[in-house]
C-alpha cells in the first residue's frame, strides 16, 4: 500500500527538519522518495512527527503481571468494552496487555522498550509482548546481580564476561544490559543492601563500581546498539545525588561509537540532596550541570505525576523500604542467581512535601538539561505515573503559565526545596519531537534501524496531531497529544481521529552479538556448572525458543578486538 502525507508541518529532528511543510511518501511500510498511486492524507497544517518512542516503560512480564494481580482495584479503574476490532481493556497504572498497545497508539507512540526483564522469566515478557498489539518492542535483560557476571568481574575475565553477555542476548532475546542497584540485588538475597559504590557485595567480593565499569566495557566491546542502561544505587534516598554523580564519573574513561556510554534512567529518583526526608531537596541542578558538561551520559527523568500509581522495580530492598514506610501491600520476588523485584502501590500527593519535590525535580531536569538530545521523556511507567500522563507532562514543559498554575496548588516546600518556579524555559515542538522520538531512538541505537526519524528507508511510523505549531494553549496541546489525528505504524493507518482502526502485531528488536568461539566454549563450561548445581531448571530449557518471538528484528553486532 502507498500513502502520501501532504500539507503537514513536519518535525523530523534527525533529518534537520523543524516545522517545515514537507511531503512524506510511504510504500511497503517504509519512507520512500516517491509513490505512484497513493492514498493521500491531507494533514491540513497539522503537526507531523515520527512515531513516539518510549525507551523505558514497564509494560510486560512477571513483575507487571503480579502488579495487575495485586491490584484488582486498579484493574477496575480502566475498564473499556470489547469492540469490533479491539479486545476489552482494564487498568490504569497496571493496564492489561491490549490496553497498553491501544493507549500507546492513540497517543501516537509506535515503539516501547521494557527495561527490566529477569532472564529466567524472559519467556513471560515475550509472551506478554505477543499480546501487546500495535507497537514494536524490545526488552532489556537484568544482568548486574548475576552470579556468573559477579564472578567474571571479580576475576577480571573480560573475555568471558563479554561472551556470557553475548550468550544472554540470544538466550533471552534481549536488547542490551540493564543494571539495577548494582550488587544490591544479590545482597537482598540475604535481606541486605549495598549503600555505596565501594561497598563489597556479600560473599562475592566485588563492588558496585567494579560491576558497573565492567559491564560498560563489555557493552562497548560487544558494540551493542544501546549503552548500559542503569538504575543507580541508592534510589529514592535523600542525599543520593552524590552516588549518582559518582556513578556517572565511573565510566568517563570508557569509549563508545558515537553515543553515550551510560544511560541513567529515572534520574528524578536519584537527584536528591539532604540527609533525611525532612530536609530532602532538589539537586536537579547538579545532575543537569554534570550532563551539560559531559557527553558520555544521557538521562530520562522518570517524571512523577500526582495521583495513584504502582511502583515496581528490580530494586527489591528499595521496595521493602517503601513498604516499611507506607505499610501498603507489598510483593517481592527474588529470582535465583540473577535478580529480584518488588511492587507496592503509591499515592503521590500534592499536599506531601516529598512528593511535590519529586514532581518538581523531573520537570527541572528536563528543563535544565540544555541539549534535548541528552534526555527523553519518561515516567518510568508506572513508577512515576502511567504513560498515559505524557501529554500533560509535555504541556507543562511547553508552558510556563501552566507550571505556574500547577505550582499554586502544591505543598509550600516547593518554594525552598525545589527550583522549578525559577525556571523560565518553555520547550518548543522541535524539543518535544527530539525528546519523545529522535533522542530515545538514538539513545537506544534504533535510529540506525529505522526508528525515530522519517528519512528515506526509515520505518513508516508516523503520528499526526490535530494541532498547529502556533497553538500555545497548554490544554489544547494536551488534548491533541492524547488522541492522535492519525497514527501510522509500518505504513498502515492504525489510529484515525483517536480511534483504533487496525491492529497489526508489533515486532520485537533483539541484539545478536557475534563473539569468539573458543572463549564462548570456555564460558559455557562455567555456565553448565551453574545449571547443574544451582539453577532449578536445566540449561536446555532456559533459552527463549523462537516460537515466543514471532516477528523478530535481529540486530547483529561484531565485537571489537579481544583485550
Amino acid at each position: 500500500m502507498e500513502l502520501l502525507i501532504t500539507n503537514g508541518i513536519v518535525y523530523d529532528p534527525i533529518n534537520q527538519i523543524s516545522g517545515e511543510k514537507v511531503d512524506i511518501f510511504i510504500k511497503d511500510g517504509k519512507i520512500v522518495s516517491g509513490v505512484k498511486n497513493p492514498k493521500t492524507i491531507d494533514a491540513g497544517g497539522r503537526i507531523v512527527m515520527p512515531g513516539g518512542v518510549d525507551m523505558h516503560t514497564h509494560i510486560a512480564g512477571g513483575k507487571m503481571n503480579v502488579g495487575r494481580m495485586l491490584r484488582p482495584e486498579d484493574g477496575r479503574r480502566g475498564i473499556e468494552s470489547k469492540k469490533k476490532l479491539t479486545r476489552a481493556c482494564t487498568g490504569y497504572s497496571v493496564p492489561n496487555t491490549f490496553a497498553t498497545g491501544y493507549r500507546y497508539a492513540k497517543m501516537g507512540y509506535t515503539t516501547t522498550f521494557e527495561p527490566a526483564m529477569p532472564p529466567l522469566l524472559a519467556r513471560h515478557t515475550h509472551e506478554e509482548f505477543r499480546d501487546i498489539p500495535l507497537v514494536d518492542k524490545g526488552a532489556i535483560p537484568l544482568l548486574d546481580n548475576h552470579w556468573l557476571i559477579l564472578e567474571y568481574v571479580k576475576s577480571g575475565d573480560m573475555d568471558k564476561l563479554a561472551a556470557y553477555i553475548a550468550w544472554m542476548m540470544n538466550a533471552t532475546k534481549g536488547y542490551g544490559i540493564k543494571i539495577v542497584n548494582a550488587g544490591g540485588g544479590e545482597a537482598w538475597g540475604w535481606g541486605k543492601n549495598v549503600r555505596n559504590l565501594d561497598e563489597m557485595v556479600p560473599n562475592f567480593d566485588v563492588t558496585p563500581a567494579e560491576i558497573i565499569h565492567g559491564l560498560a566495557e563489555a557493552n562497548e566491546r560487544l558494540n551493542l546498539p544501546h549503552s548500559i542502561h542503569i538504575h543507580c544505587n541508592n534510589l529514592g534516598h535523600p542525599g543520593n545525588c552524590d552516588t549518582t554523580l559518582a556513578t556517572f564519573d565511573l565510566v568517563k574513561d570508557v569509549t563508545s561509537n558515537n553515543r553515550q556510554v551510560m544511560h541513567a534512567t529515572h534520574a528524578q529518583f536519584h537527584s536528591y540532596g539532604g540527609s533525611t526526608w525532612a530536609d530532602m531537596y532538589s539537586k536537579a541542578d547538579a545532575i543537569a550541570s554534570y550532563v551539560n558538561s559531559h557527553d558520555h551520559v544521557t538521562v530520562d527523568p522518570g517524571q512523577v505525576m500526582f495521583g495513584d500509581t504502582t511502583t515496581m522495580t528490580a530494586d527489591g530492598p528499595m521496595e521493602h523500604e517503601l513498604h516499611m514506610m507506607s505499610k501498603r501491600k507489598w510483593t517481592n520476588k527474588d529470582v535465583e542467581l540473577e535478580t529480584g523485584s518488588g511492587i507496592i502501590p503509591v499515592f503521590y500527593s500534592r499536599k506531601v512535601s516529598i512528593n511535590t519535590i519529586q514532581w518538581a525535580i523531573g520537570l527541572e531536569l528536563v528543563l535544565l538539561i540544555k541539549s534535548p538530545w541528552k534526555t527523553a521523556i519518561t515516567t518510568d511507567h508506572p513508577n512515576g505515573a502511567p504513560f498515559t500522563r505524557y501529554p500533560e507532562i509535555i504541556s507543562l514543559l511547553m508552558s510556563k503559565k501552566r507550571r505556574e498554575e500547577a505550582l499554586k496548588g502544591v505543598h509550600s516546600a516547593i518554594n525552598k526545596r525545589a527550583i522549578l518556579s525559577s525556571i523560565d524555559r518553555e520547550l518548543n515542538w522541535a524539543d518535544i519531537a527530539i525528546m519523545t522520538r529522535a533522542s530515545p531512538a538514538k539513545i537506544l541505537g534504533l535510529d540506525k534501524h529505522g526508528k525515530g526519524h522519517l528519512g528515506i528507508g526509515a520505518d513508516a511510523d508516523i503520528s499526526i496531531y490535530d494541532i498547529s505549531p502556533e497553538e500555545d494553549d497548554p490544554r489544547k496541546i494536551q488534548s491533541a497529544l492524547s488522541n492522535a489525528k492519525y497514527t501510522i505504524k509500518g505504513g498502515e493507518i492504525v489510529v484515525k481521529d483517536g480511534e483504533i482502526v487496525a491492529v497489526p502485531e508489533g515486532r520485537t528488536y533483539w541484539v545478536n552479538p557475534e563473539f569468539d568461539g573458543d572463549v564462548t566454549k570456555a564460558m559455557l563450561e562455567d555456565l553448565a556448572v551453574k545449571f547443574k548445581d544451582y539453577y532449578s531448571v536445566s540449561l536446555a530449557n532456559y533459552p527463549v525458543q523462537d516460537a515466543y518471538v514471532p516477528h523478530p528484528i535481529e540486530i547483529k553486532t561484531r565485537c571489537k578486538n579481544a583485550s
Binding site: 538475597g189 527474588d334 535465583e336
Partner: protein
C-alpha cells in the same frame, strides 16, 4: 529415541529433567519422574473419537460435527460458563479467554476451588516470594504448612528444599531445619526435624499468636493456642528470626480450613513481618502443572486472575459472585464448556446437579465423571506429551512443554480456535 530435559505435565513443580524413551510413536520408558508423573507420561486409555449425546447415549461423530454442535450450544446460550484449564497450555488458555470474551461468557479455572484464597490474600496484603532455586541455594529454615507435598508434589523436597544442596547450602539436609505444621502427622512430617500439630480450624489463631510474639506483644498470648503451648510458639518465633533465609510453603490445609483467605493473609503477613528481621519468603504450593499459567494469561489479558465474567462486554471480577461453584449453585449458567478438568468428580453436589441439567461440552484427552454429563465430547491431544506449549511453575517460572510423540487428536488450542471461528460464522461476523 531418547529425549532428555523433558518437562513433566503433572504437578506444580514442573520438573524439567525427565528422560523419556520413545519407540514408534509410543513412550516406552520414563526416568527420573515420580510415580504419578511417570504413569501420566506413559499414558492410559483415551477418548477414542468425538461424541455427541443422542437419546441419552454418547455416539461417535466427526470433529466437524461436534465442533459445530458445541458452537451452536454456546451461541444459543445466554450465560455460558467456561471452566477448567488445570492441565493445558497457556496457548489454549489464550484462545479460551478470547472465546469467552466473544461469547460474553464467564471464564474461570480450577483456582476457583483450590488457591482462590491465596489470590484473595495476595490482593489484600501482597506476597514476599522467590523462585524455587533461591530456596535450594539459600534456605536454612523450611516450613510446610497444611501441605503434604510428599504426596502431592513428590519430588519437591529432593529437588528444591530439604534434600538438595545449593551454593550457600553445601551441607544439604544437615544444614537445614524442616518444620511441618498440620492437623495430623503426614508423610512429610515424618521426614521433618519438627512436627507442630495444630487443632483443626485453629491455623488462624496460631499464626496470630506467632505474629503477636514477633511484634513483641507475647504477653497477650495465652499459655496454649490451637493446641500449641506458648513456650513452643516463642521458640518457633526465635527460630524464624534467627534463620538466615526462611521459607513458608502452604497448601490446601491452610487455604481450605476455617478462615480460608484470612488464614493465608495471616501467613503472608507473618512472613512479611519477618522480613524486618531476616530474609523470609512464602510460596503457595500450586497443584496442577499449569494452573498458575491460566492465572497469568487471564491476568495479563483481562486484568484479573480468575472468575472473570464477560456478560457486560468487559471483564467483571467478583469472586463469590462470578466464581464457578457460586454461578452453578445459583443455577445461573445455561451451558458449560469444561476444558482439561473434572468438576463432576470434585464439585459440591448442588453444583454437579446443575451441570447435569444444562448442555455441557467437554474437551479432554481422558474420559472422566464429567464425560457422563457431557452432551458434546471433544477428545484432545495431551499437552506436554503430544503438544508443545507454555506452562508456569508454581513460582512463576515459565517453561516450554515438549512434544514427544505425534498426536492422534487435535490440541485444546486448535479445538477452541475452531469453535471460535464457528461461533463467529454463526453470528455472521
Amino acid at each position: 529415541m531418547i529425549i532428555t530435559d523433558v518437562l513433566c505435565p503433572f504437578c506444580g513443580d514442573l520438573c524439567d529433567d525427565i528422560i523419556v524413551e520413545v519407540e514408534g510413536n509410543k513412550i516406552i520408558e520414563v526416568k527420573e519422574a515420580c510415580e504419578t508423573g511417570m504413569s501420566k507420561m506413559m499414558g492410559h486409555e483415551r477418548i477414542a473419537a468425538p461424541m455427541i449425546r443422542e437419546n441419552g447415549k454418547l455416539v461417535k461423530t466427526t470433529y466437524e460435527t461436534a465442533i459445530t454442535k458445541a458452537a451452536e450450544i454456546l451461541t444459543n446460550s445466554l450465560r455460558p460458563l467456561m471452566y477448567g484449564w488445570g492441565s493445558t497450555t497457556c496457548e489454549a488458555d489464550k484462545k479460551g479467554i478470547e472465546l469467552a470474551e466473544e461469547l460474553g461468557a464467564i471464564v474461570d479455572n480450577t483456582t476457583s476451588v483450590c488457591h482462590a484464597p491465596s489470590i484473595l490474600a495476595l490482593q489484600d496484603v501482597g506476597l514476599p516470594s522467590c523462585t524455587l532455586g533461591q530456596i535450594k541455594n539459600r534456605a536454612d529454615l523450611i516450613i510446610y504448612w497444611g501441605s503434604n507435598q510428599a504426596e502431592a508434589h513428590p519430588r519437591h523436597m529432593s529437588k528444591y528444599t530439604s534434600f538438595t544442596k545449593g551454593f550457600f547450602t553445601k551441607e544439604g539436609r544437615k544444614g537445614k531445619y524442616v518444620m511441618v505444621f498440620d492437623i495430623r502427622k503426614t508423610t512429610t512430617a515424618e521426614v521433618a526435624n519438627e512436627f507442630v500439630q495444630i487443632l483443626p480450624g485453629e491455623d488462624y489463631r496460631v499464626l496470630s499468636a506467632l505474629r503477636a510474639i514477633l511484634a513483641g506483644a507475647g504477653d497477650v498470648v495465652p499459655f496454649s493456642v490451637g493446641g500449641v503451648p506458648k513456650g513452643k510458639l516463642i521458640e518457633i518465633v526465635d527460630r524464624m528470626k534467627n534463620s538466615k533465609f526462611g521459607v513458608l510453603f502452604f497448601g490446601m490445609g491452610l487455604t481450605h480450613s476455617r478462615g480460608k483467605p484470612y488464614n493465608v493473609a495471616n501467613a503472608i503477613s507473618l512472613v512479611r513481618d519477618l522480613n524486618a528481621h531476616t530474609k523470609f519468603a512464602v510460596i503457595p504450593m500450586r497443584g496442577h502443572y499449569n494452573v498458575l499459567g491460566f492465572n497469568q494469561v487471564c491476568t495479563w489479558s483481562t486484568g484479573f486472575a480468575f472468575a472473570v465474567d464477560f456478560a457486560r462486554g468487559q471483564p467483571w471480577y467478583n469472586p463469590g459472585e462470578t466464581s464457578t461453584v457460586d454461578v452453578l449453585n445459583r443455577g445461573e449458567c445455561d451451558s458449560a464448556l469444561i476444558v482439561a478438568s473434572d468438576p463432576a468428580a470434585h464439585f459440591p453436589r448442588k453444583s454437579v446437579e446443575h451441570l447435569a441439567r444444562i448442555p455441557l461440552i467437554q474437551i479432554d484427552p481422558y474420559a472422566s465423571l464429567t464425560t457422563e454429563l457431557a452432551d458434546v465430547v471433544l477428545p484432545a491431544a495431551i499437552a506436554g506429551i503430544e503438544v508443545e506449549g507454555t506452562a508456569y511453575r508454581m513460582d512463576g517460572v515459565p517453561l516450554r512443554l515438549r512434544k514427544l510423540i505425534e498426536p492422534v487428536h487435535l490440541s485444546d488450542e486448535e479445538i477452541l480456535s475452531r469453535i471460535l471461528s464457528k461461533v463467529r460464522e454463526i453470528r455472521g461476523d
